[in-house]
Symmetry: C2
DNA sequence: GTTTTGTTTAGCTAAATTGCAAAATAAATG
DNA sequence: CATTTATTTTGCAATTTAGCTAAACAAAAC
């Protein structure tokens, strides 16, 4: 299970329009960049993507996108693997699944629980 | 359905430890403050909470908590209703449910879709 | 071994965020 | 109507964020 700090980090990472778009497009296969030559060229997901390709979709400078990607990676939302001189970028569906489950649980348990917390 | 800006706003609101704790405790019934006299005193959820009560659980000044609550309200995560001179604070499970569904859809559709986006 | 390609780091600025205390507002109570 | 209670607004400082350009680094290609 995700601890609280990890969840907060994920939310923070997704709480910015640019990062959210990057995230969304990586997840829905919005980018392609031929890195993995062993995979069919039309397998847009298998081809994953690289930093430059992603940056091309935005009106921001490359280093800006690079830093956003780092933040998504640090939150475990995406995986970045160096392959030769490019970065192979993949979504991390496990984290999103866990987040989804945590919300589902929350809604299901709503009005079922009543504990007192202290947050100091 | 939640549009993107709304989602980003929700994530931003939850991307701060203090706000996340406030959110979590409101959802799980972590606060009590007798506002609604028609409801049984031990119905911690029905009694909901007020700003002062929430602030008592944190080592932050009251105005700070007030501003955090406003941000959660602006993101539609909680509902704040004035009742006499207190604020009746309730969670908004509908939003959380929608968020949860959006993640579920995302994970389910992963590797199913392959559209190209432009984010300019 | 120089150049090109892909990416990150560094150094900067402007704007936003997060905290505070003090003041202001609103309604209930004495 | 003055006081108390609950909350928000204002004004301030410190910190973080998000953007940029230029420089640095790493690997591939010429």
């Amino acid at each position: 299970m995700l601890d609280m700090d990890k969840k907060v980090k994920i939310f923070k990472a997704l709480g910015n329009k640019t990062r959210f778009l990057i995230f969304k497009n990586i997840f829905t296969g919005g980018y392609a960049c031929s890195i993995d030559e062993t995979k069919p060229k039309d397998d847009i997901i298998a081809q994953a993507t690289c930093v430059t390709t992603i940056a091309e979709h935005f009106d921001f400078a490359l280093p800006t996108i690079s830093r956003h990607l780092k933040e998504l990676k640090d939150a475990d939302i995406i995986k970045m693997t160096k392959k030769s001189n490019k970065i192979y970028i993949e979504p991390n569906p496990k984290i999103i699944k866990e987040l989804s489950e945590c919300f589902t649980t929350l809604v299901n348990n709503y009005k079922a629980s009543s504990f007192q917390f202290d947050n100091r």
